[in-house]
Symmetry: C2
Amino acid sequence: MKIAFIGGTGPAGLGLGARFARAGHEVAIGSRSIERAQDAAAKVIALAESGVVTGGTNDEIVAAADVVFLAVRAEAQPETVRALGGLLDGKIVVSIANPLAVADGRAIYQSPAEGSLAEEAQRNAAGARVVSAFHEIRVSRFAKLDRQIDSDTIVTGDDEAAKEAVMGLCRDIGVRPVDGGPLFNSRYVEAFVAVLVTINFRYKAGVSYRITGLP
Amino acid sequence: MKIAFIGGTGPAGLGLGARFARAGHEVAIGSRSIERAQDAAAKVIALAESGVVTGGTNDEIVAAADVVFLAVRAEAQPETVRALGGLLDGKIVVSIANPLAVADGRAIYQSPAEGSLAEEAQRNAAGARVVSAFHEIRVSRFAKLDRQIDSDTIVTGDDEAAKEAVMGLCRDIGVRPVDGGPLFNSRYVEAFVAVLVTINFRYKAGVSYRITGLP
């Protein structure tokens, strides 16, 4: 598939982009600046050691993509989605950011008006097929390509075909997806990351979770 | 330790009570009716096959207890705690219920005014040392004493000594506790159970989670 990373010059675009490139997908790294996008694409190729990775402006790469990852910071996501607007119509759009305020050894969920960042993206891009995934995994993990990611990911969304496609992408990079139901449930998944962050502080660790008891 | 189960005639009191009795703790099963309490205590003894289990009114068993489990249904917990009031002063009080509305193949978190049932218990019993635990584990699991519980539990609380005591109780019955920080975080843990319930419907399973990446 053709996978675009909006704001892909950060760690999520770099690491996830490299993993998807290595898995055989066509990856496009987007930025508002074409130069920064191309620099980042070169880094992704170097990290992946193989695959097809290009750089372009956010608008350009969205137009050509099957799947669009929102790889900007949580604070910037709503404005970024609004700016793309109708360009996202019909696209599978993946919301991965967690709106957390981290301070004093813990994190507090900054609940968006819609309940979650994923639902806010769906409101701001009504024609998009928004899927929520990868919240449990620290983005810095993705760039360590020689290491298996010891985590499941709970995937939520209202468009079942779009959700199934994203679950396939998870499997392609060795992360087991678990269908967590409608996009509404993304609020619980995003908020729970506040607990994982707190645990990280308490144990000086980088934790995630695996779901037990599945068939 | 002396462990009391308020409203202990239900599945949580039965199963957890039997596990703690078998682990060597003194267990008291409480009810508003002394007869029902004694009937339930007999069931717990039969299930545990050994140990010290007594029945009594909720007020009686609280007075003698070191640790008080709130084993009533979520809807009944606030009123139950208010009724006990000052009897809980200085006691370790464990909040295990999840305020969820389950319908149409999913669950929705019914957020209490305080953010979580555990925090509501703390507000209603200001002198209690409230700890939140065991949310991830379906209460019906506890009564299957021949089966290991394939789950961690995230434990939250503001009284560190009380939290450590409850984490010890978790270990006593073979459930790994993970320190999830302040009682405030119980809201995220309780709400996340809505996702686990949704997954149970989707996969016809009984899921929980284990935390990965701990030292």
